[in-house]
């Protein structure tokens, strides 16, 4: 079941690269060499208007960096970030501020994404203050409405509380209220449920889904938890060490994964049902390597049970394996 979409790309990231220069040793300075931490190394993906793309990966995959680049907190080393077709880096001043209102972010840890010394209601009202929207009375009303929308009722009571007086789940609701108060069109959610208690996770997931319906939001949903990606996303993109390995509709990728990494990730999810004999158990050797020592060719090759010489030498091309379903792997080329 695909969400109705106009086909317009709300967000498009084109050959995005984010390299962080590393501190050089004396030798490197003399030899004029510079090493980089390649957090994101050539990623192209898009979020269609009205739909949700889940960006999935483990530590060091670069998924959070992509999210931060999309929202403007990180400057790309090269590549483009396009919002509704407009190149964000070309915008400045007033245009940039207007664009800012259309794209908002929900951060991972609500304990640090809220100002500990500001009332919760004032924090929700703050974006309105900053943008001079309406009269102070109207702003207060809008903030209360936002609190009500995220389920913090009665909103008047929650308005004057401080973050430390709320539970983790409630804090995240406040963060979400703050993100939607400007009525954005694109929401970037960076692991919104990882730092929350188990029973609150479902509540937040449910809230995001209902908000999406109500507000017609497009969403980029970052997570390492495949189950929540399944529940909320229309499309999914899997990243490993700064590169895409597979992407496509979530039903397609999760029921018919092609890339060895995707298969391993899906098999890693603890299963409530008794495991049937897997047709093909994919076990990756070792652990994620140090991103400072990036493997050559296909990043997964040192760990992949199907790796060949070609995998070590060449980076894999994009191969279409289904409707909108692409994989980056020599096995399918």
């Amino acid at each position: 079941m695909s969400r109705a979409t106009s086909g317009v790309e709300a967000l498009r990231v084109e050959d995005l690269r984010v390299y962080y220069p590393l501190r050089r040793t004396l030798e490197e300075v003399l030899l004029r060499r510079q090493r980089y931490l390649k957090a994101v190394d050539g990623v192209t993906l898009s979020v269609l208007e009205g739909s949700t793309l889940a960006l999935v990966g483990e530590s060091g995959s670069g998924k959070t960096t992509v999210a931060r680049a999309a929202v403007g907190l990180v400057k790309p080393t090269s590549g483009k970030v396009l919002l509704w077709g407009r190149d964000v880096s070309a915008l400045g001043g007033r245009e940039l501020r207007e664009m800012r209102r259309a794209v908002q972010m929900v951060f991972q840890d609500p304990t640090v994404s809220l100002n500990p010394r500001m009332r919760v209601g004032d924090q929700v009202k703050y974006p309105l203050d900053v943008n001079g929207i309406g009269t102070p009375k109207e702003r207060m009303a809008m903030a209360l409405e936002a609190l009500r929308t995220v389920g913090l009722t009665p909103p008047e009571e929650f308005y004057s509380r401080y973050p430390h007086q709320l539970s983790g789940g409630q804090r995240q609701r406040v963060a979400i209220a703050r993100a939607i108060v400007l009525k954005p069109k694109l929401l970037i959610a960076d692991e919104p449920i990882s730092n929350i208690d188990v029973s609150a996770r479902a509540q937040i997931l449910e809230l995001l889904k209902s908000l999406r319906e109500k507000m017609g939001l497009s969403m980029l949903y970052i997570t390492h938890d495949l189950s929540s990606a399944w529940a909320i996303a229309d499309a999914v993109a899997v990243m490993y060490l700064g590169k895409l390995v597979e992407h496509g509709p979530v039903e397609s990728v999760f029921s018919d994964p092609r890339h060895p990494y995707t298969k391993a990730l899906l098999q890693a999810v603890p299963s409530l049902d008794e495991r049937k004999a897997e047709t093909e158990v994919v076990k990756l050797k070792g652990e994620i390597p140090d991103p400072l020592n990036m493997p050559s060719g296909c990043r997964l090759h040192p760990r992949c049970p199907f790796a060949t010489e070609k995998c070590r030498r060449e980076e894999p091309p994009a191969v279409k394996v289904g409707e909108d379903h692409w994989v980056y792997c020599h096995l399918y080329a």
Partner: protein, 293 residues
């Protein structure tokens, strides 16, 4: 209201009591004991009377039928030591107050600018502040006081300079960590200006730290002030001052006239103790360390 429980709560109670006493002395002391502190010449019922010097504590004189008690004795010039001690509070605390205020304000502003703007400004300021911080405080204060001369403002400035780096470092540290905090990033995403971020997000989170540093820094200022006046800097006799009197008392101590120096010295100790207790207890209560109870 319940009884204080534990070291921190008792510390706060005792410290506040001490501080209150000294603040009261500073505010009203001089009007209570006035002229007896600066001169040994008293006018009682129209008759001029000269108080003898070096009277031991507890001495009393009968003048025109009235009994004058000198509970702390008199100093080498016949001045009432108790009066001097009480009046001295005004000078000492005023200087401590001004210097703390100046260093807190300047240190905070510089720390905010340095931390938030970063770059070249930050590097230069940090270098300057670190050098000042590394320099022995009293010596720096002496140098500046010698340059500026006497007077409340001058001595306050001399002391203020010494403590600016402490506030600078603390504020800069907090600002640096806050700059990276997600709630500041969220404010940036909302489109907030730097001014808004600094005033509504950063400053409110810096203030508690400043507040916890103030009492300790105040105590430091008292000691530094006492040190300066002990050496004869920054003050003009016959202004009553504990440090100055301590020095004078030192000279007479060996001759057996202990009260001239011991009482002012005790005032220094008690006032510093009071402020330190308040500062440390507040810190303990507001930022409790997780201890195995």
């Amino acid at each position: 209201m319940r009884l204080p429980r534990g070291f921190a709560e008792w510390g706060l109670v005792v410290g506040t009591a001490l501080v209150a006493v000294f603040v009261a002395l500073a505010l009203v002391g001089e009007s209570l004991v006035g002229p007896r502190a600066v001169s040994n010449i008293l006018v009682v019922d129209g008759r001029v009377y000269e108080v003898p010097p070096l009277l031991p504590p507890g001495s009393s004189l009968v003048v025109e039928g009235r009994e004058l008690v000198f509970i702390m004795g008199t100093d080498q010039l016949g001045r009432d030591v108790f009066a001097r001690v009480v009046s001295g509070a005004r000078f000492v605390l005023t200087v401590a107050f001004f210097s703390t205020a100046i260093s807190a304000v300047i240190g905070t502003i510089l720390g905010l600018l340095s931390g938030y703007i970063g770059g070249f400004l930050d590097r230069v300021l940090s270098l300057v502040m670190d050098s000042m911080y590394a320099f022995p405080g009293l010596i720096l204060a002496i140098a500046i006081a010698a340059l500026l001369g006497v007077g409340v403002l001058n001595i306050s400035l001399a002391i203020a300079v010494v403590y600016i780096p402490s506030y600078y470092r603390m504020v800069r540290g907090v600002v640096l960590s806050l700059k990276a905090a997600p709630f500041v990033e969220a404010a940036v995403l909302a489109g907030a200006s730097s001014w808004s971020i600094v005033t509504r997000h950063i400053l409110p989170n810096v203030v508690p730290q400043i507040v916890s540093l103030l009492p300790v820094s105040f105590a430091d200022a008292i000691i530094t002030e006492a040190g300066l006046t002990f050496l004869g800097l920054g003050i003009e006799p016959p202004t009553p001052d504990w440090g100055f009197d301590l020095n004078k008392g030192r000279q007479f101590f060996l001759a057996g006239y202990w009260w001239i120096g011991v009482f002012p010295g005790s005032m220094i100790i008690l006032s510093v103790l009071g402020f330190l207790l308040v500062g440390e207890s507040l810190n303990e209560l507001l930022n409790p360390r997780k201890v195995e109870a």
